[in-house]
């Protein structure tokens, strides 16, 4: 079943607010990501969105070819410590989950 998510968002390279750094986001989703080939019911995440301070910066569509318990890394130009990052997903059965954190 779809379980908890984990996320880490860190500012790399920049010193203080917005000084040319990169916000690195690493997110883990607990999900079976089963294929039809496995003989189980097809159950996989289809949509992922990444928001920075409430504004969508990355939208993704994925297939059952993404590994079980997906881990993704994303990068946002600039950003500052304390920025709010939210990552959410929606699967083919309509289940959803999201995680919110701040850039450290």
């Amino acid at each position: 079943m779809a379980g908890p998510m984990k996320m880490r968002a860190t500012l790399v390279g920049g010193t203080t607010a917005g000084a040319g750094g990169t916000t690195e986001i690493r997110v883990l989703m607990t999900h079976p990501m089963t294929t039809a080939q496995s003989g189980q019911a097809l159950h996989f995440i289809q949509n992922i969105s990444v928001k920075q301070n409430g504004k969508t910066v990355i939208e993704s569509e994925i297939s059952q070819a993404v590994s079980r318990n997906p881990v993704f890394s994303f990068r946002i130009k600039g950003g500052a410590k304390g920025d709010k990052i939210e990552v959410g997903w929606l699967d083919n059965k309509g289940e959803t989950n999201k995680i919110e954190g701040v850039v450290a």
Partner: protein, 145 residues
Amino acid sequence: MNRLRRTLLGALAVLLARPFAALAAWNENAFGAKTPQDALKGIGAASSTPSKDIVIEAPQIAENGAVVPIEITSNIPGTSSLAVVLEKNPFPLAAKFDFKEGALPFVKLNVKMAETSDVRVVATASGRHYSASREIKVTIGGCGG
């Protein structure tokens, strides 16, 4: 009276279904395609120009096809989307990422590969498509997972 109630209920159902539908945009046509060509056609990128500015980092040999790490960076200015196509998988299109204002055209993900295959990445920038590919050898296929 009954008809009015039905109309109101119908309108309510449409309103309730709306946000979900907006969230659930998933390109069934492209993801359901069984050849790389059809998958790329499905995302509107039937033809693309080869580019050395798309960097694909992945192991040359993946012992376990169930978890193959792939890291992609596009150095093409204005890259707005990246698509990952695993050419010999039953459904080749694995993922598509759209980068809005502020996001860098970079992604790292783990995929399942059925067998040794080329991994093709198509980057879209200012409405034009560019591609690069790289072979990954798979010792044990990973589509049973």
